[in-house]
């Protein structure tokens, strides 16, 4: 089993995620891209767990935690986006520059 395949997949996925976060204008797609980055990290964790043969399976456990927290994060994130959309009829992140104030 060659770990490199999984690392390359993870890196590719992560890069896709970063690209999505930096270029997508729609907040929902940004959130989706973040999920992609998290998934890439999970692949890395699981791959290293198998590769190193951790007896406590820490990589897998960490991956499970990340999935759970990502679910919660997406829940909150979508809720915020929904509220912003309701208020402003727009989910374009470029227009959301309230943080400047």
């Amino acid at each position: 089993m060659i770990i490199m395949q999984f690392l390359i997949l993870g890196a590719a996925l992560f890069s896709l995620g970063v690209y999505g976060v930096l270029t997508r204008r729609n907040a929902v797609l940004v959130l989706l891209s973040v999920e992609l980055m998290l998934a890439a990290v999970n692949i890395n964790f699981v791959a290293f767990d198998r590769f190193l043969g951790d007896e406590l399976a820490g990589g897998q456990v960490f991956a499970l935690f990340i999935i759970a927290i990502a679910a919660a994060e997406v829940g909150i994130g979508l809720a915020i986006i929904l509220l912003i959309y309701r208020n402003r009829h727009d989910a374009n992140v470029d227009d959301l520059d309230l943080m400047k104030l």
């Binding site: 970063v18 976060v21 930096l22 270029t23 992140v93 959301l96 520059d97 400047k100």
Partner: protein, 707 residues
């Protein structure tokens, strides 16, 4: 001297000075005597209270002033009553030590001079407490109406109270130092009061003149006090009198003549003796109540009081008796020459002022002739009738709004109370039997006659006393003459002023009546051969004066003086007979040589101005001007230039150095802010780019440098 001491009433002396001196207590002076320090303290404190609280008090300070004077009058009356009618002689001396001056007496022993504040209660000081208190009280009451509406009403009563208080400090002094303090307080207060209407240049000049003439004389007092204090080793009158009573051969005896002269020069200033009398007529610039108090009870009596206080010194052959002929000469000149000036004055207050000078001459001449009692007795009676005359004049001025007798006339009908009291005062001053002035003047004349027969110094002394007696009788003529003129021109004839003069309010006439009672009866305390209350009272001092006192009326003297007085009144009446048309014409009657001399006051003022003031003032003014222009200005300019020169680099440093640093730091902050602001866009994705770039940089760094 010793026999006199033996005859003297037992002295009661209580020394209360913290046990410093061996107490020669014979009996307690009583609580009245031991609390008598209140007499000077109450008015002095009140003067300052009026300054601070007078304006807010309901009577604008008048009530406080009259309260203080009422207290003094009451206390003085009780003490003087004790001295007059009491059986025992109370001589009480209290003292609080303030400090010491280290010194060496002339015979080589180191000793300390004590500086003390204290109070004396004896016949002499009680008499003065009474006079200052009672006359002062009436004048203060009178002043309420007279000063009504004055812009500095409260201030007037503050300085007026200070004036009386200063006199009481002087009178109560048991030592020469305190006497000088009181002396100067009176001087300062008189300066304030004479210059009360300082808006007129003339009045403030009069105040300065009074102050300076007194200052010149004060130098004599200081020198005398220093000479006596150093040679005795104490400034206390009791110590000085002890030395004097102990006989000759002491250090004091060697300097006695000149010390006596020096003290007398001091007395000449305050008591306005010729030729230092010039300040007194000008002092009329003050409000009339001031003149009344100044000429009657306070200030001018200080010199006579000083001689009286030091009288044993002046009466002892081993001490200053030899210089008394100077007092007689000065006193005779004073009683005669200024009296003549009063004849040509149009200002009613000036007439009275010259009359005061003349009466002070009588007092001094009595002192010089060795008649302590006679001098003080005249002081006592004079205080009443002169205060009465001044207040009467004030009442007239109040009604007529002019000081000039050429604006008055015929006021007898308009102002009956003022007229009758003024008439009584004038008659008393002129020495008409049986008013107060008759008895006191008669006593002086009798003393002069006695001195002429028994003058103890030299053969010339007796002749001098006889001359003085003749001068004094002629002076009595002049006195009666000018008072007749003043009364005629003011109250008889026809009214020449404007408007309808009205009698003054009760507040003013009541003091007039009260003083008139004094002017009538004060003399009865000392009728030769009948009563001797006054003689006994003023004899109750530490060392009895040992003067001569007439035991019975000297009919020759009394008759001649009375005849002369009546003659003068008759002549005056004829000359200024109150018919309307000619009264004024007669007043302008001119005697060729005498009149210019009198109108110009013997050219004494001009003499002082031309011979003393100008020659000194000119060079001094030029010298100070030069000094001011060349030295003080140079210093000031130098400092100015130096400051300016120093300011330039400091300014540059401030502008460029300090401001530069501050501006640079501000600009730096602003620049940084401008730069950083570019990154705060609010765009979430840009932030994400930065985070990502940062992470990449970190990772790259770790890979490159980490290993």
């Amino acid at each position: 001297m010793n026999s006199l001491l033996a005859h003297a009433a037992p002295l009661l002396l209580a020394a209360e000075d913290g046990g410093e001196h061996a107490e020669t207590v014979l009996a307690d002076g009583g609580v009245l005597a031991s609390a008598a320090w209140l007499i000077p303290v109450v008015p002095m404190v009140m003067a300052f209270l009026i300054v601070f609280f007078g304006k807010r008090s309901p009577l604008k300070g008048w009530g406080m002033a009259v309260g203080a004077m009422g207290f003094v009058a009451l206390y003085g009356t009780v003490l003087f009553g004790q001295a007059l009618f009491g059986d025992s002689a109370v001589v009480y001396q209290g003292a609080v030590e303030i400090g010491d001056i280290g010194t060496t007496t002339a015979d080589g022993h180191a000793s300390l001079l004590h500086l003390e504040w204290g109070w004396l209660v004896d016949g002499l000081s009680s008499m003065m407490y009474f006079v200052v208190g009672v006359v002062g009280l009436f004048v203060f009451i009178y002043a309420k109406s007279y000063m009504k509406g004055d812009i500095r009403y409260t201030w007037f009563f503050a300085s007026f109270t200070l004036f009386a208080g200063g006199m009481l400090v002087l009178v109560s002094a048991p030592n020469l130092i305190q006497l000088i303090v009181g002396w100067e307080l009176v001087g300062v207060a008189s300066y304030l009061l004479i210059g009360h209407y300082w808006e007129d240049q003339e009045n403030s000049s009069a105040a300065i003149k009074a102050f300076l003439v007194n200052k010149v004389a004060d130098v004599g007092l200081f020198i005398g006090a220093i000479m006596i204090g150093l040679s005795v080793g104490s400034f206390r009158f009791s110590d000085i009198m002890e030395v004097v009573a102990g006989g000759g051969g002491t250090t004091l005896a060697t300097v006695a003549f000149w010390a006596g002269v020096a003290l007398f020069i001091g007395a000449m200033g305050k008591s306005a003796q010729f030729p230092l009398h010039v300040w007194l007529p000008d002092a009329m610039a003050g409000p009339t109540p001031v003149s009344a108090l100044m000429h009657a009870a306070t200030m001018v009596t200080a010199g006579v009081f000083l001689i009286g206080r030091m009288f044993p010194f002046y009466n002892s052959p081993e001490y200053a008796e030899e210089m008394r002929w100077i007092i007689v000469i000065i006193g005779s000149l004073t009683l005669f020459l200024p009296g003549l000036i009063a004849l040509v004055q149009d200002d009613i207050k000036k007439v009275l002022a010259y009359s005061t000078v003349s009466q002070l001459g009588y007092m001094m001449v009595a002192m010089g002739a060795g008649a302590y009692t006679a001098g003080l007795f005249h002081l006592f009676t004079h205080a009443f009738f002169k205060a009465l005359l001044f207040l009467g004049a004030g009442s007239v001025i109040h009604a007529v709004h002019s000081n000039n007798m050429s604006d008055m006339g015929g006021l007898r009908k308009y102002m009956p109370w003022t007229f009758w009291t003024f008439l009584i005062g004038s008659a008393s001053l002129a020495g008409i039997f049986p008013l107060a002035g008759f008895w006191s003047k008669d006593e002086i004349l009798a003393s002069l006659q006695y001195a002429g027969e028994n003058y103890p110094v030299e053969a010339g002394g007796a002749a001098l006393a006889n001359v003085a007696l003749v001068v004094a009788i002629v002076g009595a003529f002049v006195t009666a003459f000018y008072m007749t003129r003043a009364v005629s021109l003011t109250f008889f004839g026809s009214y020449k002023g404007h408007g309808e003069p009205l009698e003054s309010p009760k507040m003013m006439t009541v003091p007039l009546v009260a003083l008139a009672v004094g002017a009538v009866t004060a003399g009865w305390l000392n009728i030769p051969g009948v009563t001797s209350y006054f003689t006994d009272a003023v004899g109750k001092v530490l060392v009895p004066a040992g003067d001569h006192h007439a035991e019975a009326i000297n009919f020759a003297i009394a008759l001649s003086a009375s005849l002369v007085g009546l003659l003068a009144i008759g002549l005056g009446y004829l000359l200024w007979y109150p018919d309307k048309e000619t009264q004024q014409e007669r007043d302008t009657f001119r005697i060729p040589v005498l009149y210019p001399l009198l109108v110009n006051k013997y050219y004494i003022d001009d003499f002082y101005m031309d011979v003393i003031v100008r020659p000194i003032r000119g060079p001094i003014a030029r010298a100070t001007d030069w000094f001011n222009g060349h030295v003080i200005d140079a210093v000031v300019n130098g400092v100015g230039f130096g400051t300016k020169a120093l300011a330039k680099p400091i300014y540059a440093f401030d502008q460029r150095g300090l401001d530069g640093a501050i501006n640079a730091s501000a600009a730096g902050t602003a620049g940084t802010g401008t730069f950083l602001r570019m990154f705060q866009t609010g765009k979430v994705q840009q932030y994400a780019v930065m985070i990502f770039a940062g992470t990449v940089l970190l990772v790259a760094g770790l890979i490159i440098f980490g290993t």
